[in-house]
């Protein structure tokens, strides 16, 4: 009797084992891109497992020369080197506004909020672009030399992110890019 119980328990354990293995298996992160143009009734949805994105991004340049200034146009704003210096100082301060560029109809704000760096672009008082980047990603992006942005390192960090990365809302279209663990 005892032997039968043992054999039965063993078989039951073997039967449950694959389920247990599945249960502890880490879920696959997915990168999602949604582009919608309500006026044209047009929708584009792209969902890719991050491991595929990781492989595809091998084609991305390892570094990106900024060729001038970031967070501004037509000679305004800051160079990457300027921003790197400022970032290394401000990172220790905690939550703060990092950059504010005010123009006639447009404002660009870069601020640190918790573990995120938020970039908001408003046109005519309406939020059009919101980018949320983890602090670690900015660190990695700025780990290049001179006016170069280290894209490769930033992408590697981005893979740990879960949640929204980019939201763009303009009058004709919306774009949302985010990472979660659902296909």
């Amino acid at each position: 009797m005892k032997r039968n119980v043992l054999i039965g328990s063993g078989l039951l354990a073997l039967g449950l084992l694959p389920g247990a293995v599945v249960a502890v298996e880490a879920p696959t992160p997915w990168l999602h891109v949604r582009v919608e143009e309500p006026r044209r009734s047009s929708r584009v949805h792209v969902n890719l497992p991050l491991n595929v994105v990781e492989v595809a991004l091998k084609a991305a340049p390892e570094t990106l020369a900024s060729h001038g200034r970031i967070f501004g146009r037509e000679g305004k704003g800051m160079t990457v080197s300027d921003f790197r210096r400022m970032w290394s100082e401000l990172k220790r301060v905690g939550d703060t506004d990092l950059v504010t560029v005010e123009e006639k109809d447009e404002s660009v704000k870069v601020a640190r909020r918790g573990g995120l760096v938020e970039v908001r672009i408003e046109r005519k008082g309406k939020e059009e672009v919101k980018v949320e980047v983890p602090v670690e990603v900015v660190d990695a992006l700025l780990s290049g030399d001179g006016d170069e942005l280290n894209v490769k390192a930033a992408l590697a960090q981005l893979q740990k992110r879960r949640g929204d990365i980019v939201r763009v809302n303009d009058e004709n279209s919306t774009v949302r890019i985010w990472i979660d663990e659902q296909s």
Binding site: R40, S42, V44, H45, P49, N51, A56, A59
Partner: protein, 170 residues
């Protein structure tokens, strides 16, 4: 009676052998009352042999700058094959829809518009086998081998109006 059975056993055995090795079937149905129905079964072994003996100059593609991206394309296909199933792409516009789904080791592409429905199932091992090498040569031996692994697959299904074309491997 025994003689008849003996005579018939040879073609029956041959057909059974061919069927067991697989058959690529092209099935074309034309719409309308006078539409034709054409079925072309090609034994997989014949297709594989034809691929193996296809002239090399015809199997070379001009790659130019694309050659440098071939290893990456192969890696992407491998990662895709190893990755989880799910809907990869959906494009919707009025009257048109394109959906790309990964199911097992197959990419299913569905295109639908007002008059046409197209479904293409791309077995990823076949796609990987069809990738040309750095010289632009399509490795036919690999392709022929991969073709054997896609049995019982509907490769192409096109419905356009009343016309219907299917290509499947049985």
């Amino acid at each position: 009676m025994v003689k008849l059975m003996a005579v018939l056993s040879v073609p029956v055995a041959f057909l059974a052998a061919v069927a067991s090795l697989g058959v690529v079937v092209v099935d074309v149905r034309e719409g309308g009352p006078d539409g034709h129905h054409i079925v072309v079964p090609v034994p997989l072994a014949v297709a594989q042999t034809a691929l193996a003996f296809a002239p090399e100059e015809r199997l070379r593609v001009k790659l130019d700058r694309a050659a440098q991206h071939l290893p990456l394309a192969r890696e992407v296909l491998q990662a895709l094959a190893a990755g989880p199933d799910g809907e990869l792409v959906r494009v919707e516009e009025p009257g048109e829809q394109v959906v790309v789904t990964k199911v097992g080791d197959t990419l299913r592409v569905r295109v639908h518009d007002r008059n046409d429905d197209v479904t293409v199932n791309v077995p990823l091992p076949l796609a990987m086998a069809a990738l040309p090498d750095s010289q632009g040569r399509i490795p036919m031996a690999n392709l022929a081998g991969a073709l054997g692994g896609v049995r019982f697959t509907d490769l192409v299904d096109v419905r356009s109006g009343d016309d219907h074309v299917k290509v499947y491997v049985w």
